[in-house]
């Protein structure tokens, strides 16, 4: 099913995480909102295959990669077009040109870096934008180098380079929350030293603000690192209890409330019998 929304509601890092974890194949289109000065909008397209990024571009005319090759001066537009026609239908253009000895592996890497890493990483700075993921869009062989990047790697690179975090401010874990690891053992990702330091505190006990104090880092910086650990699937935000339980609750004017709740004591729930559950389901079914 098509997924749509606004980046202000569901951010690009969250979206990438969803597409990767869901092993999605299709086309993600991001339409920037009209610029207040120029009233112009721009479309950005990112193609996914099995949750990994395979290509990116600003148009759907299947000429983006050819244009990049031509701009590098490695081949003329027409020459690439002619060679592209000789490629097998399922082979990515970049790989096809490499197989024909027209491009080297290094050149392909450079193309992929320009096409995907640089273009997509820049999108993390967008304050907002409308997005749509179309799982039925065809795979664009003419836009593909044959190289792939995991959404996690792109997210990590994009967020590390991000200067202005205002657009993601609401998404950051609260300074009062802790972090908890959601993986077995240590991360396989290449974390930087600060990320490793914060990772060491993913045991669900210490608030982000206290981690910052411990590491002598600004709270905002630790929040940003924590967000990176969250959207790359390494950790989860764990809200800590804001206040200790009081010794009693003033509930004298709510006689309907059962004493065990009103007392404020947290001793757990007494089990209910199978006949209770049977009767309850029977009773509820009469209301359906």
């Amino acid at each position: 099913m098509t997924v749509t929304g606004y980046l202000a509601d569901f951010s690009l890092p969250e979206l990438f995480q969803l597409l990767e974890q869901g092993n999605k194949t299709g086309l993600l289109t991001i339409c920037t909102l009209a610029d207040t000065k120029t009233a112009e909008r721009y479309n950005h397209h990112i193609w996914f295959s099995q949750g990994q990024i395979v290509a990116a571009g600003n148009t759907l005319d299947q000429r983006g990669l050819m244009g990049l090759i031509a701009r590098r001066g490695w081949m003329g537009d027409n020459a690439v077009s002619r060679l592209a026609q000789t490629c097998q239908i399922n082979t990515p253009l970049g790989l096809c040109l490499k197989n024909q000895g027209v491009l080297t592996a290094e050149q392909l890497k450079l193309l992929f870096y320009t096409q995907v890493m640089r273009q997509v990483c820049a999108l993390f700075a967008l304050p907002d934008g409308w997005f749509q993921f179309d799982p039925k869009a065809p795979t664009p062989r003419a836009e593909m180098t044959g190289l792939i990047a995991t959404a996690t790697d792109v997210t990590l690179a994009g967020l590390r380079a991000l200067k202005d975090w205002a657009a993601l401010d609401e998404k950051l874990p609260a300074p009062t929350s802790a972090l908890v690891s959601v993986i077995e053992g240590k991360p396989n990702l290449r974390l930087n030293p600060n990320e490793w330091q914060v990772w060491e505190f993913t045991n669900g006990t210490m608030a982000v603000a206290d981690v910052a104090k411990q590491l002598n880092l600004p709270v905002a910086k630790v929040q940003q690192i924590a967000f990176r650990l969250i959207v790359t699937g390494l950790a989860e935000e764990m809200p800590l209890m804001a206040a200790p339980p009081p010794s009693s609750l003033a509930l004298d004017d709510a006689p309907e409330l059962e004493p065990s709740i009103a007392s404020g004591k947290t001793a757990g729930a007494a089990p209910v019998s199978a006949s209770f559950l049977q009767n309850l389901v029977g009773f509820l079914k009469s209301k359906v």
């Binding site: 969803l18 809200p239 309907e256 409330l257 709740i261 947290t266 199978a274 209770f276 309850l280 509820l284």
Partner: protein, 182 residues
């Protein structure tokens, strides 16, 4: 009196109060109480608010429904409710993706405090821009369909729909308790 306590939780506006109101046989009690700590009685008074509904279906059998407090901070009242609960339902408005992260936070808090069974109830699924269940489950951190809690669609305004969701929650709890004893 045998009592089963279900907690209804979720981000603000997901339909918790409406859900309880739709199935409760008593006027839902919107408790707005002062939490008093005897030691700090003079200087510390905290207001807590949560919904309470009841369904009595036998002379000595009742279902109690508790909605978690509307405020965003996780205080002792959340803890009391979840510790006393037999199960809970997390309500998520399908058309508000900006609340999915908050729903995830709530779920993490609940999981940490208590291992009781839970299901996810999707509200507002007929609204424009609503996401489908599979993508919401992904957004809530459940990539593996076979390892996620049951997801039900619920119209919090309709008694029949809420009753159906409560049945799903009770049955999920029941199957969990059967598995635990076998």
């Amino acid at each position: 009196m045998e009592i089963m306590r279900l907690v209804v939780t979720g981000p603000v506006g997901a339909g918790k109060s409406t859900f309880i109101r739709s199935v409760s046989e008593i006027e839902v009690v919107d408790t707005d109480r002062r939490a008093t700590d005897e030691a700090l009685l003079i200087k510390k008074r905290t207001t807590v608010a949560f919904d309470f509904g009841r369904l009595q279906f036998g002379p000595d059998m009742a279902l109690h429904l508790y909605g978690t407090p509307g405020q965003s901070r996780f205080d002792f009242m959340w803890d009391i409710l979840i510790q006393k609960a037999h199960a809970y339902i997390l309500l998520v408005a399908a058309h508000r993706p900006h609340e999915f992260r908050e729903a995830r936070r709530i779920m993490m808090f609940m999981k940490q405090r208590s291992p009781v069974p839970m299901i996810i109830g999707l509200t507002h699924t007929d609204c424009p821009g609503a996401w489908d269940a599979a993508n919401i489950a992904l957004a809530l951190g459940y990539p593996n369909p076979s390892r996620r809690p049951p997801v039900v669609t619920v119209n919090a305004n309709e008694t029949a729909s809420v009753a159906q969701a409560v049945i799903a929650l009770v049955q999920h709890t029941w199957s969990g308790s059967l598995a635990a004893t076998s």
